[in-house]
Symmetry: D2
Subunit: 403 residues, 4 copies
């Protein structure tokens, strides 16, 4: 990269940095310090922690990589706000993040400001920035990923309060409604020897590559995601009471947890309501089904005489038929593929190499993006992943079948 | 009671009410809303919850008993701030009290003000007050009991934060130090047919009575409570590694939980420190031992060639030898008596009858009071009670032996 | 003791030994090696283990105390068949006793024969026996205690088999029926300064003494134990659904475990049946209620407007009114007294001192004896003890009230 | 199939039936009824249960499909010996299989004889047999699968007995030793568009098909399985203490379970021993590593600078290079592929369709066969599957790497 290109890239990165960091603060607008401290389960972190951890990422991996790194804003944050990077040292216990009344939200916001100032100095120095630019980009993608988790976690935190508080007057969940209530059509794909995975042009996580060949048999993919109304028919047909529709582990899960609907659904006065980021709302039958586990998605597909797509089918379709409705911005779509390395996968070097690879077991892949995903964070090759019983993510499904 | 006596009693109650309610607020001085929301375990409630629950008690049991009760400040608080009174209806789950960012601390303080105003109207009306005066007194005792819990719980909440925050510059724990480091002397008691329990003059909880006769064999009681220094000798002598010193359940507890010291003790750099309400402090060898379970108290007594006193021995001694050092204001003193009803015990009628009686199983009695007990809440006949494994209360011990 | 007395005592002990040891074998008559290996929960041991452990007791504590002890029958049994005597060394894990297919039942019976031969040699030598006679008696009492446990445990083991096997054609449980179906009468006791506990004449466990004075207020005790029919009225009145009848821990137990009847009761085809040692049988309304926890006993008593007796009340009544029906041989009777040491209690010295004292916490006392107690093992001062939630013992209750 | 072919097939099936059924009995030769009742964990069933369940399979699915099925040998066995076939009705609780002392082993052997007689009548009637022949074959494969489990489970049962019993004088585990202790060589494969999966010629489970195309990048596969000696080097190099070598779930597993070696290894007197079906034996460094979880296999591979093969790579290699050492008869070889359906997979119809498909989640594929697999039960396309933490199967690994 020549001098001019480097300056232009730096300028663009400076703008992205400012924009991304500002959006995290926008998400907590209207929330109190008490709201930002809630932790309703070990898997869901307090919003205050997200704000601090994303800052810690820049301080540790970017500023920490400078020849003469600035003094840490507070050396105790090194342990407090490390999530799972063993290479970086000790970590505070995940399940106890909600017990940190200190540092206060004000102190965390001050921490953000301090690191932002240090980062701005770096972003304004193209030469110093150049070797670190990729890490800055990774940090911004990382912060966007946490922005979705902030909404996902907050929804769970608030759902535990009998007062059922709202984050906003209008729920993001309601903004996406399946284009039509008509029965979903299928699109056919011929398959054959296809390529999937990230090319390396533009940003991607290490787990999205390398781009590689896969053989696909002919298949069909639904034009849109499954709707709430369709899932109500599954419930009405006794779907949660019929073991033959479920994977064995899924049936155990349903039986032991007493699951009888997607997460956040409530049945009262003979109508269904759903808890949303705008509080309790009547269930919109035309909206895409959300907050189902893979077990529910799989049972619904079996009940429908269909199946879940594989990850490769989804990835190929997203490239060859980008006009399919609801690929992005509605719900993450469960695939029937385990989260495992692509052929030739190599984790990134250094501590950031812990980002993805070590989680490649016991999880299933979701593709697309959701109504909670920040703008600019969706891409064809994105591999999201969660255990099969996960409901609290913005997860739904799109049907597939053999041709 | 004649008119004048009634007015005087009302005036005194009004003063007690103002004083007791104000002290609860004094306890949170310097704490943030975030601090007041912490819940580190199901047994320990957020301070905000204590502030609201003690208010709920007056609103429900006192104001609610008026011929025309005022409208509730917020009808949703009826469920949210009920602790365990089944007679009053549904309750919010104990373990999830820390998930209530709403109502905010400000709203809870507003709730207190509203109820205080309503109570002040009642307290200023001697005729209306007369039939409810005993319930008001009960409510104040109840609030005092929660004031101790506020400090007890806050200590646990803060102890989970790696930053080890302090509540005050000077720790209540440090203010009581055993009078002397010399070996403790024993006082002899002749026993015989004694009376213990509340007489009914002055306030007492229902579980403290009726006053009744017990036969006591001659016994001896230590002049003071066991000190930290004495317990260090037990540790140094391998006390935690010698099964013959422990009750069977106690040995299981030590083994399975890996207990090797009283709660809040930390050994670092070859010296012992203790987490206190003033943060981490060097261990004061002369101070009374605190935060031990009954198992530890019992094992220490056995190691000392002594035993724990029974509740009746302690109660008799407190009446006949009130000059024993440290009966009150240092640590709650474990007895080797189970928390069971006195002969002839009858629970109070109505929902407040759930206060004590239903907990009379699987708990052991502690007597005296601690450095965290508010002034005016100590009495000879007070029966505190907790399961044998409890460490997080301000609990220590005083040795006894047969004469 | 002179020569003649010693010989006579030895002769009597030899007879007791033969009789007691034979009765253990009588209990397994008709059972297969497979039956004798069952372990349905950690608390209930296989019958084969009981047969071996009672033998181990003689080998370890009696033969092992000889000047030149015989070689152990199998040195590996020292660990395998130790129950909880830490002073004797390592123990095999209690919950894994059912995993010992080796040694086989035949080998365990051979072990019994070997030890019996060695014991017979000792019992035939009055001089050698004299210093060990008390330990032999303790061993026989110990074996009798395990004889009751053999039936108690076998009942639980068999109850887990859908085939519902029977031990005998006639159930011991059915042999005791409350004398009358009429409403139970109360007997009055004046109380005052009474003595309870073992005098030391005749055998008793260390926990039954020392005999000591207690002050009792006047009280009444039911003439007989509560019957199944009376408990059915409690169930019909919604007893298991009314929290106000229960101790707080009892209500949690009922709710979390879904308890809705005594253990082993089954409701089918609109009638109640009970699993017994003779298999499934129609419930006998006149028989004494059995297999209830202290929680159920306490709730029933509260529902009846009565209460459980204290241990001292029961003990005093058993001495002063031995004609009360069903004191022995029907069901163990829950008292509302915790299992704690009597004043002046000292555990026996040596490893057998672990027999009782270390269990004096978190348990409640039962008095009397049951239909499964072997002849000669009942006495006025016997203190049985179990945690409050225990149902699988032959436990019932007798009502008491204040005079 | 014409008459003659039908008779010949029936004759062959009759022979296979007799042989397979006899081998199950051979496996329990020398074991007592007590041995056959052991159940050391919920996952491992008693041998008596295996003997009964495999018989139940023929009685239910084969004899039960006859136009006029014979009366069941014992109607209660229908529930007792159903494993997981929901389509067939209720089942006895898996974790309580060890609590069935009744039916006795003798009764179960009698059950086998009765069903064998009924089956022999069917096998001798080619016309009646023809439509059921496939189900008979499935039943025999099913019994063979349980024959391996009998040894696998027995090993676990016996390992819980401190006496460490032996099944045979010579251990099956010791019979397979890696051909050479030299460093393993790699064989190269060109990959490309390959076919894997069962062709439908000869027996296979439904999950092994359909045969389908996959694209493989060039890869290498080790000539032999990893040996005990090689794994000792991993241990010596601190393999179990280095988080960077482990998947995140694997590290949690190691830390929480305190895993520090393969299952059944014991370190004493400065040498390693392994519990085998011939009791405790010195560890053979040249033998194939066995009883490791996928986590251990994966960590070892990472430490070696290699990786686990995918299922497709293993399957392709087994077809194109059947001379690779140790593909079969040593240890099941973990692959890094999740157990999911092949493209176009359809479960068999009827209740036997529950055999495989419903387990296709949260498990990883193992390929090959082990020293405990009965003769005739190994094939190229066999898909074994277990959760990643499973150690008690005869599981090892073969290294792979990219070309």
């Amino acid at each position: 990269m020549n001098q001019q290109a480097r300056e232009s890239a730096a300028c663009s990165l400076e703008f992205s940095y400012a924009q991304t960091r500002a959006y995290s603060l926008e998400l907590i607008r209207g929330l109190s310090a008490e709201d930002c401290q809630l932790q309703s389960m070990a898997d869901a972190s307090p919003l205050k922690w997200h704000l601090a951890h994303t800052t810690w990422f820049f301080e540790t991996f970017v500023l920490g990589a400078l020849a003469s790194p600035p003094a840490p804003v507070d050396p105790r944050y090194k342990v407090l706000f490390n999530s799972y990077y063993i290479g970086v040292g000790e970590r505070h216990l995940r399940a106890e993040r909600g017990l940190l009344s200190r540092p206060s939200l004000d102190e965390v916001l001050h921490y953000r400001q301090q690191v932002d100032q240090q980062m701005q100095r770096l972003l304004g120095n193209p030469q110093q920035l150049a070797p670190l630019a990729d890490l800055v980009t990774l940090g911004l993608q990382h912060e966007q990923q946490h922005q979705e988790l902030m909404l996902t976690d907050l929804k769970h935190h608030f759902s535990c309060n009998p007062l059922q508080p709202a984050w906003r007057d209008r729920a993001p969940e309601q903004q996406s409604a399946a284009a039509t209530a008509r029965h979903s059509q299928y699109r056919s794909f011929a398959g054959g020897l296809c390529e999937i995975g990230a090319t390396g042009n533009g940003f991607s996580y290490d787990n999205e590559g390398p781009r590689h060949r896969v053989w696909l048999e002919p298949f069909q993919l639904a034009e849109r995601n499954v709707s709430n109304g369709e899932f109500l028919a599954f419930i009405a047909d006794g779907g949660y009471q019929r073991p033959e529709l479920w994977l064995s582990d899924g049936w155990d899960w349903v039986s032991q947890q007493g699951v009888a609907s997607p997460l956040y659904w409530q049945h009262a006065d003979q109508q269904w309501q759903a808890f949303t980021l705008a509080g309790l709302q009547p269930l919109n039958h035309a909206a895409p089904l959300c907050h189902v586990s893979l077990y529910e998605a799989d049972a619904f597909a079996r009940w429908s005489g269909a199946r879940l797509p594989t990850e490769a089918e989804w990835g190929h379709a997203a490239e060859s038929a980008p006009d399919l409705a609801g690929l992005f911005g509605e719900v993450w779509q469960w695939t029937n593929s385990a989260y495992l390395p692509y052929p030739g996968y190599q984790p990134a070097t250094g501590a950031v190499g812990e980002y993805n690879g070590k989680f490649m077991i016991n999880q299933m892949v979701l593709r697309g993006s959701s109504c909670a995903t920040p703008a600019g964070h969706s891409r064809n090759t994105y591999r999201n992943f969660f255990p099969a019983a996960t409901q609290w993510q913005f997860s739904g499904l799109r049907l597939a079948r053999d041709s």
